[in-house]
């Protein structure tokens, strides 16, 4: 065990830590390691590896993937910090709606967002790497704002107040007091954004020029368009190896930066007091809202616009089984909404339970915890095509013939969402002052009791944030879902892609109407979870 940093010393007996870890570790092995391993064994041999690594296109693709992800991540973090601060610290009208809007954008299918971007961007920027990076920033802003905000609102404001009292300017307070304290959360958010942009698929396909491809797109292309599953698997491993290195580094950095502070269950948000403070909050929230609203408005507008004028037909025909005499679409938008919500609820439940257990285990364990932490991040970094194909050959014999089971899709979503739950909770767990545990022990509590009394109340808020993100991820997930074979039960993003993929202005407009519904559903769901989290937060403050 390395104890160069204040590990969560409100420790649990080793055996209980192992029990906590068993669920998430088991799920990881069964639903990720096994399928991916099966695919590697089945499709890869020395020749394939040699061929893929010798191809100069492989390295060109890898380099492009890397630098666009670095730039996208840096810009996203820079742009996201100010709104994260405002959202965490201030109470203002529309705060919850703003967070909901941003999350909705994170969730919208790339085809839809791509269209909105193409509509908003000047033609000279279309289909360049700058359009791609811009889209990555807007897409992932919610990750930074939610993850950093979740920690920021837990920081005791008195340190900032003390610095301000001592005469520090507001900028200096932020730079010298707040930023160092939220640094672990920033690193965590940056790691997630990096993962997402490094493995970017939809944005690149819609907005990228054909010459600019990420490894993820190349994996998909080799596997599905060229039938070269082996080459795809090699690329997928290359991508993974790279990401493991980056995530390992960031997780070490995160531990180094993390420090125990007197975290409170929640610092009450305050109303901006001075005029200039009000102006700053207003400006930051306003600009963020404008960035978030523009694509959503573009969506809604497109659901009413047709090549020959304005029409409400898309909305009035939505869900009508017979759209034209004798013609039914075979796409039931309302059923897709129901499917999506059901899938999201299951995925969120899986992700919160497994992710919550994993965070507790990771925070209490040493090196083994780090392995579990990085291990659970792997599914985000692995191409959805390879996981989908891997499940196909792994789960093919009874009693494990799960290839078309209804729960495979929510489990797939949960695998992608678990790292979010961990990242939002672990920062809080790591920052818990060990003195609290010592105090409980001094008062006669058993180690388990002390742990339960100190740690568990701290968990609800970050878990609620994690749940909201998990639900959002599941609602918007397209890649994995589209690569898992399924019978019935198309989710909203799939129904949207299918509508937009056919000729006819009515179907286009219906696709945008459905996208508008997806955005609205997300905002409602996420706002509801946020409300629950506020209510729970008040509960713990009283206890």
């Amino acid at each position: 065990m390395d104890d160069d940093r204040p590990r969560l010393t409100i420790g649990l007996p080793r055996r209980q830590v192992a029990l906590l870890a068993a669920g998430p570790a088991g799920a990881l092995v069964v639903f990720y390691v096994w399928p991916f391993g099966s695919l590697i064994v089945e499709a890869i041999d020395a020749t394939v590896i040699g061929d893929t690594l010798r191809r100069s296109a492989t390295w060109r693709t890898a380099w492009f993937t890397f630098w666009q992800a670095v730039v996208s991540t840096l810009v996203t973090v820079l742009v996201g910090l100010a709104p994260a601060h405002v959202v965490a610290r201030y109470r203002f009208r529309g705060r919850r709606a703003l967070v909901g809007l941003l999350t909705a954008i994170f969730v919208l299918p790339t085809v839809v967002m791509g269209a909105a971007f193409l509509a908003l961007l000047p033609a000279s920027v279309d289909r360049t790497v700058w359009a791609v990076i811009g889209a990555h920033v807007v897409f992932n802003l919610a990750v930074v704002i939610r993850m950093v905000g979740a920690v920021w609102e837990h920081l005791p404001p008195d340190m900032e107040a003390a610095a301000a009292t001592l005469g520090a300017s507001r900028w200096r307070v932020v730079r010298e007091v707040s930023l160092p304290l939220v640094r672990p959360a920033v690193t965590a958010a940056a790691a997630i954004v990096f993962l997402f942009t490094f493995t970017s698929f939809g944005v690149i396909r819609v907005l990228g020029a054909p010459g600019t491809r990420t490894i993820e797109v190349e994996v998909w292309r080799r596997a599905t368009q060229l039938g070269d599953v082996g080459g795809a698997a090699v690329l997928s491993m290359l991508q993974l190896g790279f990401l493991v290195a980056v995530v390992g580094w960031s997780s070490r950095a995160q531990r180094r930066f993390s420090r125990a502070v007197d975290l409170r269950p929640a610092a009450p948000r305050r109303v901006a007091r001075t005029g200039s403070e009000r102006a700053t909050v207003f400006a930051i929230a306003g600009v963020t809202a404008a960035i978030a609203t523009a694509p959503l408005v573009a969506l809604a507008v497109r659901s009413f616009s047709t090549p020959s004028g304005w029409s409400t037909a898309a909305w009035s025909d939505l869900g009508r089984s017979e759209v034209r005499p004798g013609i039914r679409l075979g796409i039931d938008p309302l059923a897709a909404v129901t499917n999506s919500i059901q899938t999201a609820l299951w995925a969120t439940a899986f992700a919160v339970v497994l992710g919550g257990l994993a965070s507790l285990a990771i925070a209490s364990a040493g090196r083994a915890g780090r392995v579990l932490d990085v291990g659970l991040m792997l599914p985000i970094g692995t191409s959805a095509v390879t996981i989908g194909f891997g499940m196909l050959i792994a789960f093919d014999t009874a009693p494990f013939d799960w290839r078309a089971s209804w729960w495979l899709v929510p489990v797939g979503h949960a695998l992608i969402a678990i790292p979010f739950v961990i990242r939002t909770t672990i920062g809080v767990l790591r920052s818990i002052d060990p003195m609290l545990g010592a105090a409980a022990a001094t008062l006669g509590a058993s180690p388990t009791r002390a742990w339960a009394a100190v740690v568990v109340p701290m968990l609800w808020r970050p878990l609620a944030v994690g749940a909201a993100l998990a639900a959002a991820i599941s609602l918007g997930e397209f890649g994995a879902t589209s690569f898992l074979s399924r019978s019935g039960g198309a989710t909203i993003p799939i129904a949207i892609e299918r509508l937009l993929g056919r000729t006819g202005s009515l179907l286009q407009a219906q696709g945008y109407a459905l996208a508008t519904i997806l955005a609205a559903t997300t905002i409602v769901l996420v706002t509801a979870v946020d409300r629950v989290h506020d209510v729970v937060g008040i509960g713990t403050e009283r206890s």
């Binding site: 906590l20 039931d332 494990f400 388990t448 074979s485 399924r486």
Partner: protein, 351 residues
């Protein structure tokens, strides 16, 4: 959370995982039809026709959507001999050779082929049966050409002429099946050598390349997407779809098809090798090429039925163009060259 809660949660998870292992009871009269993602999952007359098959024969049919055609084939190749389902719908002639080489089909040469065009049947050599066909063609925006006072091009060669500079948008053949079909059309026209020069001319003439059909048609095409390109690689059935799904309704097609650019895509269905229910699977294949099912194809998938005895609905025939002699290439030639052609194309057009 106390110690017991921890134990309980862990046990609960283990139980949940174990329960997942119980598979469905597989009765003999239940088979699975694997299809690509544009096959309707429910509610349409095509699905009703499948239900009719079940009612007649007592064989239940479950529909399994496996992704786009390329993904579906890659999955089938990976699981050849231990398939996801019993019958597969929708492998097209650009992928057919690969499917046959990968032995995903259990040959069914005696399929009800009487009313199917012999040249289509011959392509699959008894491994699968042709079920429908359609064309990938350059579509044009009728209004745009009228406003510009420009004659609509009628040949592939004309598309490379300066008067049509910067007017065409195509899909990348590396990532899109209509894109590949259009590349094959040019190989057919200009020969295994000449197509390269043609494409460098097209590139000089400002052809725009995007990754997928949706992007080309709804992002760049002047009619549908508010883009600035009046020529787009799309389907022969796009004009009738524009009429049928117009909003507000209209009676004339706003787009047309340049017939000489059309490349024919023929789709096949077959029994998957390794099925546990070969007899039921063959009966389903017979039904898929039968008149009841074939009659529903046009308005649900926007393709032509392979069965020559099936009449097309009026809404479809009025605005669709079926070229007398659409271009096509031997599936074996396609299979042997597609990867090379795509790589060469990428170098020529994208640099």
């Amino acid at each position: 959370m106390n110690r017991h809660t921890v134990v309980r949660v862990a046990v609960g998870l283990a139980a949940a995982l174990a329960l997942g292992g119980c598979s469905d009871d597989d009765g003999a009269a239940e088979i699975t039809l694997v299809a690509y993602d544009s096959f309707p999952e429910s509610d349409t007359s095509l699905n009703d026709a499948l239900a009719e098959f079940s009612a007649e024969t007592g064989i239940g049919v479950e529909l399994l959507i496996a992704g786009d055609t390329g993904t579906m084939l890659a999955k089938a190749a990976l699981t050849a001999g231990n398939p996801e389902g019993d019958v597969m719908w929708g492998i097209d002639n650009t992928l057919l050779s690969r499917a046959i080489d990968d032995e995903i089909f259990d040959p069914y040469p005696d399929a009800a082929v009487g009313s199917l065009p012999a040249e289509f049947v011959a392509l699959a050599g008894g491994a699968a049966v042709p079920v429908d066909y359609g064309d990938v063609c350059v579509n044009y925006d009728i209004g745009w050409f009228a406003d510009a006072g420009l004659a609509v091009p009628t040949t592939l060669q004309q598309l490379a002429e300066p008067v049509y500079a910067d007017l065409l948008v195509v899909e990348n053949p590396a990532t899109s099946s209509p894109g590949l079909a259009f590349l094959l059309a040019t190989v057919d026209e200009f020969g295994a050598d000449g197509w390269r020069d043609y494409w460098s001319d097209l590139a000089t003439n400002g052809v725009q390349v995007v990754d997928g059909w949706t992007d080309a048609y709804y992002g760049s095409f002047s009619w549908a997407g508010g883009g600035d390109r009046p020529l787009v690689v799309s389907y022969g059935s796009s004009p009738p779809a524009e009429v049928i799904f117009a909003d507000p309704p209209r009676t004339d097609a706003p787009t047309g098809v340049i017939e000489s650019t059309c490349f024919r895509q023929i789709e096949f269905a077959g029994v998957l090798a390794g099925t546990d229910h070969p007899d039921e699977a063959r009966r389903l294949v017979d039904y898929l090429v039968g008149e009841t099912f074939q009659a529903e194809l046009a308005l649900n998938l926007f393709v032509y039925p392979a069965n020559t005895e099936v009449a097309l609905p009026a809404a479809f025939t009025e605005h669709a163009v079926v070229p007398d002699s659409a271009r096509t290439l031997d599936p074996d030639v396609i299979a042997a060259n597609r990867a090379t052609w795509i790589d060469e194309w990428t170098t020529i057009v994208l640099g």
